[in-house]
Symmetry: C2
Subunit: 409 residues, 2 copies
């Protein structure tokens, strides 16, 4: 499925229609039909190729992510009762069953909501925050708006208060990760869009975004290495060990578009350029010149990477790369982004979709052959793919940004 060149408005329109069609006629119906749990509420994501349930355990991340996606479709595509109901079911399941007695959110629970696994970090809280923010707007629900603020505040506390998260390592070699800052940006953007630029834990959403971008630029961006690091020492030094050297190009491309989106909204060309620079460097790091597609991990110095799946092609780095290249092209007009967009779009649509049962495979070998046929698990569900189809079609449908702001919501 090779896409039409987009040098014309007609081309943009065709691509927007393709994304919208895949979103509304394929991906979302797959999850509504097979994932929503009519029996116990919330959503099941561990689904086989044909939608059969592989595991009834529920991902708390996905109660939030799915609720956000359904509420966002309701808010921005059309007010379908089915979507609002799906969002409500996930929000309510999460609200009822997602929290441990100490207030921290679980990672997984059983189908009927009994706790299975708590993890150190607090991404369940961040995804609950965006779910509640979008659902608050969709349903006009004041309690959801409060819950969005509360869960984001909890996310910030667990992620950025020294000692609030149990350490994985001994204090010998302190380190910090890109992920909490990235998720802070995306979560704050979402809360601001729906609840206004509220003060949360002492800073406005915009201030949280500014602080996160500043820290990323200061400590994770390495112009001398032309890379964005995933993990660095507290002062930003490169940690020259296996885990410190591991780059995650798809993750960095996701960061790139969070930053470009912020630049677009503010009409801030410097921010757009920062995001585009991350895209430039991490595309060079991640794109597989031999087989196409994006590697999962790369060593910053080209050494072997320890994680076994380093050269596999996962669906989500590709959806993030599609958004990043599309947004960069829209915002800068540089033709290299059009070329990269075409490359990653074509590779993705040639390898990930399941023509027979719909949705995308998640896990391919380096050469693009399917490694594992399931459509979901605790990490894959209605989020990265439908978010790309939804956001991609919006980017393509918005007028080109002129001097002023471009709010891609």
């Amino acid at each position: 499925m090779n896409s039409t060149p987009l040098s014309t408005t007609e081309g943009w329109g065709r691509l927007a229609a393709l994304y919208r069609g895949e979103l509304l006629n394929n991906v979302i119906p797959f999850w509504i039909e097979h994932g929503l749990d009519a029996e116990r509420g919330g959503i099941l994501t561990s689904l086989d190729r044909d939608g059969a349930i592989l595991d009834t355990d529920k991902s708390v991340w996905f109660q939030g992510r799915a609720a956000w996606m359904f509420a966002t479709l309701y808010n921005t595509v059309e007010p379908r009762a089915e979507w609002l109901q799906a969002a409500r079911s996930c929000v309510e399941f999460s609200q009822r069953h997602g929290f441990a007695p100490d207030g921290k959110m679980y990672f997984t629970v059983t189908r009927d909501g009994r706790p299975l696994r708590m993890r150190r970090y607090a991404y369940s809280e961040a995804f609950a925050a965006i779910a509640n923010a979008a659902y608050a707007k969709a349903a006009g629900d004041a309690r959801a708006a409060e819950d969005a603020v509360k869960t984001f505040a909890a996310y910030l506390r667990y992620s950025f208060t020294p000692g609030a998260t149990p350490p994985k390592y001994e204090p010998t070699r302190p380190a910090k990760s890109l992920a909490p800052l990235m998720i802070c940006i995306a979560t704050a953007q979402e809360l601001r869009a729906h609840l206004g630029d509220a003060n949360i834990s002492g800073r406005s959403c915009t201030e949280w975004i500014d602080a996160s971008i500043a820290e990323i630029e200061r400590d994770f961006l390495k112009p001398e290495l032309q890379t964005l690091m995933e993990v660095v020492a507290p002062d930003g030094a490169v940690i020259d060990h296996l885990e410190g050297r591991a780059l995650n190009p798809g993750h960095a491309l996701e960061c790139a578009w969070f930053v470009m989106r912020e630049g677009a909204r503010r009409g801030d060309r410097k921010l757009v350029q920062l995001g585009a620079t991350i895209l430039d460097w991490m595309w060079a790091r991640g794109w597989d010149e031999e087989y196409g597609g994006l590697f999962y991990f790369r060593d910053v110095f080209g050494k072997p990477v320890q994680e076994y799946w380093h050269d596999m092609k996962f669906w989500w780095p590709h959806t993030e790369a599609i958004i990043a290249t599309l947004l960069a092209w829209k915002l800068t007009g540089a033709t290299k982004y059009a070329r990269w967009r075409q490359l990653v779009h074509d590779w993705s649509f040639n390898h990930f979709p399941d023509a027979e049962f719909g949705e995308w495979y998640g896990y391919l070998h380096r050469d693009g052959s399917v490694s594992q046929r399931a459509k979901g698990n605790v990490y894959k569900g209605p989020f990265h793919l439908p978010r790309m189809l939804w956001y991609g079609s919006r980017i393509l449908s918005e007028p080109n940004p002129a001097e002023g702001g471009f709010d891609a919501w």
Copy 2:
């Protein structure tokens, strides 16, 4: 490199010579030359293809595993000072730097021994126990003999005392794993071989072995499914969720030969048959009929497996399969084991060895192509491969077992 058919004594001899030659002229020299840390003591295992250091962090598992291997060569091949010195260096590094203030052993430490990571489980203790047992015999070192008993006792306490290991999951769905029982068998066998059948934590080594085998047979072996489970409920019930259904054929084949070895030592045909049955079932589960080699994970009901590397070919399931098929053939004479031995030997020697720099690659794609070129990391070092070459050459050199015991040490 296809091996000679072994229908003749000459064939057995040639294979024994091949294994011994690979062990002494290739694999052990690689680790002595590149891994031993002349500067700080102990051994480095994160080595690139050519032996260059990829990461100076030290695996505490491998201080024990390497010390065991070097001391075992000293005890059973010939008393080379170089091997005793290598064993001593690893034992002493581990003794000085492997223990946290509360007495539990770390998982990784820095090159100079500062703590990096503590893990929930206690395999560092089990590997320290076999290291100290073999080193005690090699060096006539009474303190090492005491340390072997102490670390095995600690392993038993952390592994089998309810509540002694921090839980990974909430109490909603209790589970237990095959691994602690398997490692209990192998560790107790090693201590018994070098220190006699000592009483440790209330049971003799043989009683720990008996209890472990009994629990494996009762709760993990499923004749109705023709499989050995990796994880079950406390009462042995199959946990019908992704993690509960995941089989690890290579791990089960390792268990199979621990049990067959025990049967051989005792002249107990029932134990030999139990190990051979595990081999039969898990060979059928794990062997890749399309590309050859052994899958890493398989779902007990043939459903998709969640772990990304499920269909990769790792070196260690192959070395364990070589030992298991060789031992089963030696002990039962059944020709299917000769056929399987040949299959897994040929596939392994055709795909894993690095003809240019020596040793074996560790991580191949399903089709046998190299995924990652490094020779070691915190999980790969001088253990599974040299143990197979050493133990394989011993099995091939021992007289065939008659009615009486066959002590393959």
